[in-house]
């Protein structure tokens, strides 16, 4: 743990575990939500936290590993494709907004755009399997819901970033 690289790897693993726990929690919560298929995007909080704290490469690795481990634990092949597609679209928006570090947009705005991109990616992948039209009718509702969900995850991210201010980063030298 003394080496900065090892420390960073350990933190990435912790955030990957957090993303998986949040995925599971989200799947439990989705049964209580009024709209079928609606998910809050809680695992994205962990990915955005890694992006903000450790950089884009770590976030990409955590995001991809989360999709694959989730698939191995509870998923199906179509669900993996949907998950990967959503993760890539969402990550692309995080790159564009630099996870809320660009001038004029904060983490809440970045989180909303990332959530919207996530559902866009998932619908694009789903349309390959199930045809364009059935998915198109779902899309506006899910896109509208991505805005409040993105705000919720953005606020959670702000809280996590506040709590993580005391985390020593991987780039720092340790005695």
């Amino acid at each position: 743990m003394r080496s900065p690289a090892n420390r960073r790897l350990a933190y990435d693993a912790v955030f990957l575990a957090l993303a998986l726990i949040l995925s599971y929690l989200e799947s439990l919560l989705s049964g209580f939500l009024p709209i079928p298929g609606l998910k809050l995007g809680l695992p994205n909080v962990a990915v955005m936290a890694v992006f903000s704290l450790f950089g884009k490469m770590d976030a990409l690795i955590v995001s991809l590993l989360r999709c694959f481990v989730q698939f191995l634990l509870f998923g199906s092949a179509p669900a993996l494709l949907l998950s990967l597609s959503g993760a890539f679209f969402s990550f692309f928006l995080l790159l564009l907004t630099d996870c809320g570090r660009r001038r004029g947009i904060g983490v809440i705005g970045a989180s909303v755009l990332s959530a919207a991109a996530h559902i866009t990616g998932q619908c694009a992948a789903a349309s390959l399997f199930y045809g364009f039209l059935p998915v198109l009718f779902y899309y506006p509702t899910m896109l509208a819901l991505s805005a409040p969900c993105g705000i919720v995850t953005g606020v959670l991210l702000v809280l996590i970033l506040r709590a993580a201010e005391r985390i020593p980063r991987g780039r720092e030298r340790t005695p």
């Binding site: 079928p36 298929g37 904060g106 705005g109 199930y130 059935p134 198109l136 896109l143 509208a144 805005a147």
Partner: protein, 123 residues
């Protein structure tokens, strides 16, 4: 403690997403025609079922069974043994929704309006 400052993009981003979804919703529903039948896609096979006759259709794909019931001019998934059963909770076509998708079973159901498909989509 670090204080988060709201930026203009934090307000504009949700508004832009809501506006876009509203515009899409309007474009899809503005010229809504009465629904005459439903189209089911299952493993590349296309089936069209009329909503005029009550019936039950069973689809088996990817190791799961999905039962589509047509009753009183509405179609809904009455049974599915997929893990999440979101398709069963999706509601009825055309009353609650215009399409139902079961991801694990690979089955999709969509409303087909009387006299053909949506003008906006068919171009």
């Amino acid at each position: 403690m670090h204080k988060y400052r709201l930026k203009i993009g934090d307000v504009l981003a949700p508004l832009a997403v809501l506006l876009l979804s509203g515009a899409l919703f309007f474009a899809l529903t503005a010229r809504k025609k009465p629904v005459g039948s439903v189209e089911i896609l299952c493993g590349g096979e296309r089936t069209v079922c009329s909503l005029l006759t009550d019936a039950e259709y069973r689809f088996e794909h990817n190791g799961y069974t999905v039962v589509l019931t047509v009753e009183g001019g509405e179609a809904f998934v009455s049974f599915a043994d997929c893990p999440d059963r979101l398709c069963v909770r999706a509601g009825r076509i055309p009353g609650d929704t215009r399409s139902i998708v079961c991801v694990p079973a690979g089955v999709s159901v969509r409303a087909v309006p009387e006299g053909g498909d949506y003008d906006a989509i068919a171009g």
